[in-house]
Every structure is written in structure tokens, then in C-alpha cells.
Symmetry: C2
Subunit: 295 residues, 2 copies
DNA sequence: TCTGTGTTCTTTGTCGATAATGTGCAGCCT
DNA sequence: AGGCTGCACATTATCGACAAAGAACACAGA
């Protein structure tokens, strides 16, 4: 079984949502940019839609025949790329399943467990190794270093260094930089979520990711920006499976974010640094606490 | 052709140097730790040596029959692992051969050019991507971001942040920490090379690597320590192919290192920071200058 | 003349197969 | 009793193959 056709299936599903009975789909190149895939894939989708009786396709005309039914969609689990599946399975194993530091990781076993070839697992592990949670012994196995308190400390130490630098750079951005507009949009989004915090507190993760990425971006340094990927993946999976006190924690964090945003807007270095430190040490604390309860 | 037997060949060559006529080689496990390979490989080596008439092997006795000749050694180019070969070829291409930023990298083409399978090239590129010089477009090619001034600036900015932190941590190390002994050994090595600088200035690279790694180690932070790999590889290959003013540059750097080491020994934070900054800004300058002439 | 389509070709992502290398166990020698 | 050897087995590194996905180009239609 070579390449999965997940790109096709995912794009097909998204294309279904574009169907409006009576109208015609746009041109192939336009669909390409709409769906973010190549023309080859777009044409496969169109062919498939013809077979399913969803459209009539003749050169430039792609007349929609009927609205898509539930059964027209591919099941969601078939639309995520192989590496995503591997990532999820693996993260679950090391964050939730009791994975002791020092444990060996076996490519073959992992591959069999997930039901994929060894190559994919191998490539995933290589990519993943930059997160510092695993390490390779050449010609031999991988060693799991574990999501320990030690790891979290090291991660957060670097994060603080980088974020302070980025925040300072952000404050120094010229007034007409588009980042300021984005910051304002993000502020509004925070306020909205906060207004309905009890039912929307889970949206905080996304806000958090967006805000911090926006700030890192201002550093103009690829190493700082790339490092945020590590933070993001760790926080993402960790909190996904550790929802204790999420409501309270997220509410508090949103308020801190708003302070942080206000501080940035003043463009005064001392104010920015203070708000940044405050938020980061609070984030550190809650990660450490949730690690304590998890262990 | 599966796995190359470079581990075997390299270990065989190293084992040849252990042969002393009239004596017997040590036990298999001992050879393992001496050569850093598994018993299987050691036993292959012993078998091969029997075939070559170098030793008589009977259970515990491995009597050496004759000294190894030049022709007993495997050619050196057969002893480096595939990924090393790929790395060298690739680095040469992007640092020496005119490689414009934005250029596409083609796995297949690279593989054919080097004469290896695509899998190896692919895995190399994935590993290499963490250095920030290339970037992947999923389902499509890699993009070369180029060893530009911009890249160098970003790299050095982070380096300075990290090294200042590490140097401070080093100065705070307890007096009986083994790092102090290593620092002293390194200082002596510097002095020795300096005494004969005209003929030994090329040894500076190794000293540089050892000193900075020793210092980063003190941070106790895997992200800081791992980041040094990026510095190391960039400096290694860059200066390997840019030897202009090497004699002068290295001599100056050794003096700075000695100052830096002295400052660390005082354990006074201000002295350490000053020496560290001085050396780093000088390193930055010389990298930037050599980039200017290269471009 | 420009944008869209038909067609063909190239490249990537994934797999299974295979030699090299590493690992574990039972018996043997000192 | 402790380390060494002999042997059988498990795992990794590398390759070639092939379907999915992307890219190039000539022609057609507005």
C-alpha cells in the first residue's frame, strides 16, 4: 500500500461543502487555491463527484445536481495524514500511558501497533526527536527521556528567554505594522470568549497559540519561532488529556493575556516585560501543578 | 543493497591497530567496549582476521600471527556511514556550490547524485531540517533557505542568549565539579596549540568545539545543549571551506578563549559576562566578514 | 491575449524485503 | 561464582517498487 489518499479524501470532504444546487463549481485553478491542493487532485475530486451523481462535468461547466448527503462524506478518520495518526498515538502513549523515562522505543513494535510501515514510524521519530523527549542510539533503539518535571523546567526556561526577547521586539514594531491589527483582533476574541467563559473556556488553547505565535513572529528569528512548535505540541497534548481545573485555569490565563496585550499596546518596555514575566510564571506554575497531580 | 557494513569496516580498521605480534587479543566483551560495537560485529572482525591470516582464533585464545600491512585496512571512504556521506555532499552543495535561497531541493535527484536510495536522503533532510536551512512543503519539494547573512544573524543571536546563560551557570558550578578539571585541561591544550600556532592553528576548531560544549553543558538544559549542534555544524563546514585568514583568526580566538577561561575561573559573574560577550561578538564579526567575502 | 482544460511526466509518501548489526540465553571454562 | 563463548533471534538501515499528489506544457475557448 503506497501513499494514502488522505489529501484527496480531506479535500473531497471540504469540496462537498462548496456545493450549491443549481450553481456551477468554479474553475479548476480556482478550486486548487480554495482547497489548497494541486489540479490533479481537484480533477480526481471532480471525477469522483460525477460518479456520485453530485455534479455534471463538461469542460468548464460543473453543474451541481444535488446537495451532498451525510453518506457522501468520507469518514473523518480516513482524512488525517499518516504522520498525524502516528503523532497522536505516540503522544498518547508517552503522556497518558505510563511511560517511564529510560524506556526503549521499538520502531517495529510501534509500527505494528499503529498498523503502518516502519518507514513512517522512523521518519516520525526522527522529526519528533527535535522536541527533546526521545533520543537515538545509532544502530539500536530509541530511548524515551520522558515528559518529566525536569523536561518541563528546561522547556519553560528557554521559553521565557525567547518570549521576553520577542515581546520586546513586538513592542518596538513600527506603528503601521500589521501585527498591531492582529493583536487588536486577538484582544477582541479574548474578550468575547471571556464574556461566555463557562461554555467557551476550551477555546482558550487556540487563543493562547495564536497570541504567542504572533508575538514570537516579531522576533524575526527562525529559531525562536520554530521553538514555539515544541511548546505548542507539549501544551496541546498535555492539556488535551489533563482537563483538571481547566475552567478556572483558562479564565485566569485569559485575564493575564488581556493584561499582556494592554502592556504591549503601551509599547513601554518595562510594562511589557512585567506583564510577560507575570503570565509566563503563572503558566509555568500551572504546568508544574498539573504534572504533580499527573505523576 | 541493505545496510552498508561500514560499522564493521571501521571497527576492523581500528582493531587492526590493536594487534601486537605474539600477544593475544582481549576477550570479546572487552573488544566490544574498546571498539564500541556489539559482539556480533566483533566476532565478524575476528573471523575476517582469521581469513586474512592475521590471527589464530580458538575459543579464548586469539594469537596475533603477523603485523597488519597497509593493504589489510579497508579504504577510508568505505568506513563512513551513509548519513555522513550525504551530509558532506549536501553541505558542500549549499555552502560552496552556488546555492541560491529559494532553490528547490529534489530528493530523487539528490539521491541519484550521491548514489544512494531515496529513503536515506529523505531521512537526512528531515534530520537536517531542524537546522533551519531548509523547509518542507508537504507533498512537494524542500525549499532551500540558504546560508545567508540573515541566517547567520539569527543563529548568532540565539547563541549569545544561550551562551551567556550557560557561562553564568558554569561560574556558579560547585568547586568540586569535574567540569573545572576539564576546563583546566582545555586551558593547557589551548596554551600548547598557541605555543606552536603557525603549524597547529587548524587545531583550533576542535578546541573551540570542546570549550563551548563544556560550557553549554553547565546549563543543564537539553535545548541549549542541542542547539549547539547547529552552531557546530555550521561553523565546522563553513570554515572547512573558507580558510581565508584562518591563521590570524584562530590565533586571535585562542587568546580570547584563554581570557574567557580565566574569567570563568574567577567565578565572578561580571567578569564572565564581559569575557563571554567579547568573544562572541568577535566570533560574530569574523563569521560575518567571511560571509561577505564568500558572497 | 489571457485563462482554463487535457495530457503527460516527475516527484513524494509508504510499503515490504533483506543484509548488517545488536541482544538475550544456555552452557562452558577458569 | 563469575566471566566468556556459541548460538538463535530481534531490530535497524537501506533499497527498490508503486500509487498518490504535484508540475509542466500545448492547445482550446472566451
Amino acid at each position: 500500500m503506497p501513499k494514502q489518499n488522505t489529501v484527496f479524501k480531506d479535500a473531497y470532504n471540504r469540496c462537498l461543502r462548496l456545493l450549491v444546487v443549481g450553481e456551477s463549481l468554479p474553475s479548476e485553478p480556482e478550486l486548487c487555491s480554495l482547497l489548497g491542493v494541486s489540479r490533479t487532485t481537484v480533477r480526481s475530486i471532480l471525477s469522483q463527484m460525477v460518479e456520485a451523481g453530485l455534479i455534471e462535468w463538461n469542460k468548464r461547466s460543473k453543474a451541481v445536481q444535488r446537495p451532498p448527503a451525510k453518506s457522501d462524506y468520507f469518514p473523518e478518520h480516513e482524512t488525517s495524514s499518516l504522520s498525524d495518526v502516528i503523532e497522536r498515538t505516540f503522544m498518547k502513549r508517552i503522556l497518558v500511558g505510563g511511560a517511564e523515562p529510560g524506556m526503549q522505543i521499538n520502531e517495529l513494535e510501534l509500527a505494528r501497533e499503529i498498523g503502518v510501515g516502519t518507514t513512517s514510524v522512523r521518519e516520525f521519530l526522527i522529526r519528533f526527536s527535535r522536541f527533546g523527549l526521545i533520543e537515538k542510539r545509532p544502530n539500536s533503539h530509541w530511548v524515551l527521556k520522558g515528559f518529566t518535571r525536569q523536561f518541563a523546567e528546561e522547556l519553560i526556561d528557554v521559553r521565557e528567554m525567547f518570549e521576553l526577547k520577542s515581546a520586546a521586539a513586538f513592542a518596538a514594531l513600527p506603528i503601521d505594522d500589521p501585527a498591531w491589527a492582529e493583536l487588536e483582533a486577538l484582544r477582541r476574541a479574548h474578550v468575547e470568549v471571556l464574556a461566555d467563559i463557562d461554555s467557551r473556556y476550551l477555546e482558550f488553547s487556540e487563543l493562547d497559540d495564536r497570541l504567542h505565535r504572533l508575538i514570537q513572529q516579531a522576533s524575526g528569528n527562525r529559531f525562536i519561532i520554530d521553538f514555539y512548535d515544541i511548546i505548542a505540541i507539549v501544551f496541546h497534548y498535555h492539556y488535551q488529556w489533563n482537563k483538571a481545573n481547566a475552567r478556572e485555569r483558562n479564565g485566569k490565563a485569559i485575564l493575564e493575556h488581556l493584561d499582556y496585550i494592554e502592556a504591549l499596546k503601551t509599547r513601554r518596555p518595562e510594562a511589557v516585560e512585567a506583564a510577560c514575566r507575570l503570565h509566563l510564571s503563572s503558566a509555568r506554575l500551572s504546568l508544574m501543578q498539573s504534572l504533580a497531580t499527573a505523576a
